[in-house]
Symmetry: C2
Subunit: 406 residues, 2 copies
């Protein structure tokens, strides 16, 4: 008998029929002798509907009240799923975040979990019941309803798995696992049977979007085995592990990319201490997140400073820099480019193997793709290229690193 | 400075614009220096939508989960109203039933309030905040969400007013008070400035539908001054009092009527002890509610037994009685009539005045209206007549008892 936490996102519970399909899947697992805790999101579309109502009331809705409002979305789903389970003759009991007692801090709309009381859930599991928990929500020490922010249901799933010492936490989604790259770009992309947490973190932050970064970090911290599976297809999905047990790891696990980037360069910036913070301080003050940062070596006492931001923030970032130019002095010029993309190769194997970077750069050069920026971490190498080369770059790298073969 | 509990039903908070109008009204009262607790229902249509979803999951939804589901309706409204108040610069804080701690028994879908913790609400009021509470819902001692059943938001309003010792509990609805009778039937019907609890109970149970009976009983028990007002019009509404302080009471306060009645008569029933329960026992076992009951005096050892039920239950009740006829013996015959109505005159004044009944019967006789059944209580007299006479009966009684004049 194993204990599993299953998490189903908004698309997986988006209609009456889909909720019934989830109930069937859960019942099957229980019939097989396993103990099941199910975490569900709001039905797809519901959160947006509620946010729309909120904004009609107050252009910037009060955070506390927004949490009271949005938490109803998951509460509807837990009740409906429990009914669907009852209808199959499967004992089940629903829990809101407050009823479990998922204790969080009081940071409304982006609360952090502090503690989970597992007593009630454990009693239900021992009595043979399925436990159905509302994702995304908790309660602070004063009894206020809190929410965990975007992707919070994944975090709930992982946190419950950690608290209950579950054997695995299954994240059901609309893809059947983590792929070597996006199959829409590379038809030969393959589903990975397993991937390490670190690789997953890099894949997620690079736009693979299968899992929220925070839940992956959380899983790594508490040693929770995560598995990504499809709600709609059978299959074993991709297991996310924290050990690198296999002797023969592939060098590279996958090729990630991100189309939402834009690049800003200030040339001729006087190369003085503190110049980077002078540039990025006002950007941060505008709540614009910076991704890659590259500063070239100094020539003649001036330097070129380049960074990327989300494409949606491009215009705002440009305006901030325009305002900065006179302040920076020198003959500073501003160059912006919002038709770029970032392509990355990710793999824990590159830690112990030299020559990965040069293979990547040679592959791109052979295709005539100019590299505009380079940034590296221990297990990934990212390059910025013109967006027109995205597909070509991803496909050629996928082939060059042997990901086309099983 | 007075403390008021305002209760707004589903129609009064049915749209974004109406919720904003409620916020305006509440702010105005607060600006005038009063302390305000607002109780709200789910937006109109929402409860039916949720019940529809539930039934798609499970033909007979589990009560506990139905409460989890339905309670989201009011939770949405408290959040939205609080935002609307904030948008007007009015400090406000929302509370679910569980957050107030409205402690109920565990009878899901029809729970009874046991205890209300007023500490948190009091602290908010003292800090100058409007308190916004979800009607219709509570929590049992195990932390399960409960609901109070139909009209439960009225009960919440009255219970909070009792707990907080509020000066008045205002029930905002789509009518501007209690009328001497339905203005659609008698254009000269007048709004009553005040009415006693007992009269209100009789009016409500007779189909005036302004307030739920349970909340009126509750208000009487805890000495809460109830006032019925319109959400959409200015005005003082109707105050419902439990004292009869005025020397000069009108004899009759109003004419109530009910179109939803049907009549069943068993003739030639052997007049033996226990015959009434033999007839009504199987009716009750079918969950059919009986309203008026009349048994004529015995002739030749047999009697005629007549009672009324809701028109929707007519066929079911008839089938039950058909099955009973042979069991009762004698030459019992069954007569059913579902084209009847009940008309009642209500007034505490009739306690101390004779002749009210004969005025009523003479008025009807003068119009040629045959009375089929009569039933009386201390402060009302009800008659059953053919439904075609409804308007004529109500208008002539309204005039005969002087209700046409101010």
């Amino acid at each position: 008998m194993a204990l599993y936490v299953y998490k189903f996102g908004g698309t997986s519970v988006g209609t009456v029929e889909r909720i019934k399909a989830v109930a069937e899947k859960v019942k099957k697992s229980q019939d097989a002798g396993d103990q099941i805790v199910v975490v569900v999101s709001a039905m797809s579309g519901e959160t947006n509907r509620l946010v729309g109502l909120a904004k009609e009331m107050q252009p910037q809705p009060t955070d506390r009240e927004l949490d009271v409002l949005l938490s109803t979305g998951e509460q509807v789903t837990i009740a409906l799923l429990s009914m669907a389970l009852h209808n199959l003759g499967c004992e089940a009991r629903s829990y809101t975040g407050a009823q479990v007692r998922i204790l969080t801090d009081s940071a409304h709309t982006k609360a952090r979990i502090r503690e989970i009381d597992e007593a009630n859930m454990r009693a239900d599991l021992d009595a043979g019941r399925v436990v159905v928990v509302a994702g995304f929500q908790g309660v602070d020490e004063h009894g206020n309803i809190t929410t965990l922010g975007r992707g919070g249901s994944d975090t709930t799933g992982v946190a419950l798995a950690a608290a209950l010492k579950a054997d695995e936490c299954h994240i059901y989604t609309d893809v059947d696992g983590v792929y070597t790259t996006d199959p829409r770009v590379v038809p030969k992309a393959r589903r990975l049977d397993r991937i390490t947490f670190e690789e997953m973190l890099e894949m997620a932050s690079l736009g693979s979007k299968v899992l929220q970064i925070r839940s992956v970090e959380f899983a790594g911290k508490y040693n929770v085995k995560l598995r990504v599976l499809s709600s709609f297809m059978e299959g074993n999905g991709t297991l996310i592990t924290y050990e690198e047990s296999e002797m023969e790891r592939a060098l590279i696990s996958g090729i990630a990319f991100n189309r939402d980037e834009a690049k800003l360069t200030l040339t001729g910036v006087p190369d003085l201490p503190g110049v980077a913070s002078k540039i990025l301080g006002p950007i941060a003050a505008e709540n614009i997140e910076v991704d890659m940062i590259v500063q070239n070596i100094s020539e003649n006492g001036t330097t070129d400073f380049t960074f990327t931001v989300n494409r949606n923030d491009f215009t705002r970032a440009k305006n901030v820099l325009e305002g900065l130019r006179s302040e920076l002095g020198g003959s500073t010029t501003l160059i912006g480019d919002n038709s770029i993309v970032k392509v990355s190769i990710v793999g824990v194997g590159m830690r112990s193997h030299a020559g990965i970077a040069s293979t990547m750069f040679k592959t791109l050069a052979d295709e005539g793709i100019n590299i505009q920026m380079i940034s590296t971490s221990e297990i990934k190498i990212s390059v910025v290229v013109d967006e027109k080369y995205l597909e070509l770059a991803v496909r050629s790298l996928h082939k060059a690193f042997g990901l086309d073969q099983d």
